[in-house]
């Protein structure tokens, strides 16, 4: 059986689910961020798989490119927030204790 669109969609689904599992079970903010990166990667796999097998145009590549750039941006801002929280909340980055914006 030749590898086709559904194989890549399956990989995307598995990576997405593992990322979502990471997001909902981790209590460390950095761990949650790792899950988000996995989810964005699975979205890119799907974009490129549809671009390659289904449309044959270049549009999926551009969406994946913008997605990668936004992931980098999101990562930078989120890690800045994590470090600010770490400094201001007694060295704790536990998501369940972050109930206020200012301490």
């Amino acid at each position: 059986m030749s590898v086709g669109l559904s194989h890549f969609l399956t990989i995307g689904a598995v990576v997405f689910s593992l990322g979502l599992f990471c997001v909902i079970t981790r209590r460390n903010a950095i761990g949650v961020l790792m899950g988000v990166e996995l989810i964005l990667n699975s979205a890119n796999i799907n974009f490129l798989a549809f671009s390659h097998f289904s449309s044959g145009t270049i549009d999926g590549h551009l969406f994946a490119l913008f997605c990668i750039v936004l992931a980098a941006l999101e990562c930078a801002v989120a890690l800045a927030i994590v470090l600010a929280v770490f400094r201001n909340f007694d060295k704790v980055i536990d998501m369940e204790q972050l109930t206020t914006l200012h301490k």
Partner: protein, 169 residues
Amino acid sequence: MSTVIYNVIFYILAFFVVISAAVVAFSKNIVRSAFAMVVTFLGVAGLFVLLSADFIAVTQLLIYVGGILVLILFAVMLSSRVKEIKISNLSVGYFPGGIIIALLTLLLIYIGVKTPWQKLDSVRFEPSTSAIGNSLLSNYLLPFEMISVLLLVGLIGAVVIARRKEDQE
């Protein structure tokens, strides 16, 4: 490209991606999770090559492996008490979360396999860089410019958030 070699490479890459993503999700040690992400991103870059997306694969290598991962590792190392697992990487709700996610995975795979997606008769393997460049300066000019402004805003925002407020302390 020979179909057999293509399939073998796909399954090897898929194996590495799924195993390392599972390590990212389930590992008790956050440093181990961060390093398992290296393997995940490299495997996903390989999958991009198999999808004839050469430029995106190189971008993935440069930005994800070279940039985002280093950033995450810096954050992991800067937030101390990494070794105390209870503090650094406590997880909650394994059991209910696991059931929901397993069902969701099966649903997504079912949708992906069963839906009659539109398919091309023959897939093409050709370099994509020049087509991406042409599109970025014609059809996608507006999002291209907007994303550059957004990057500037994000850069300034990250610096403002992360700097120490020395006048207050």
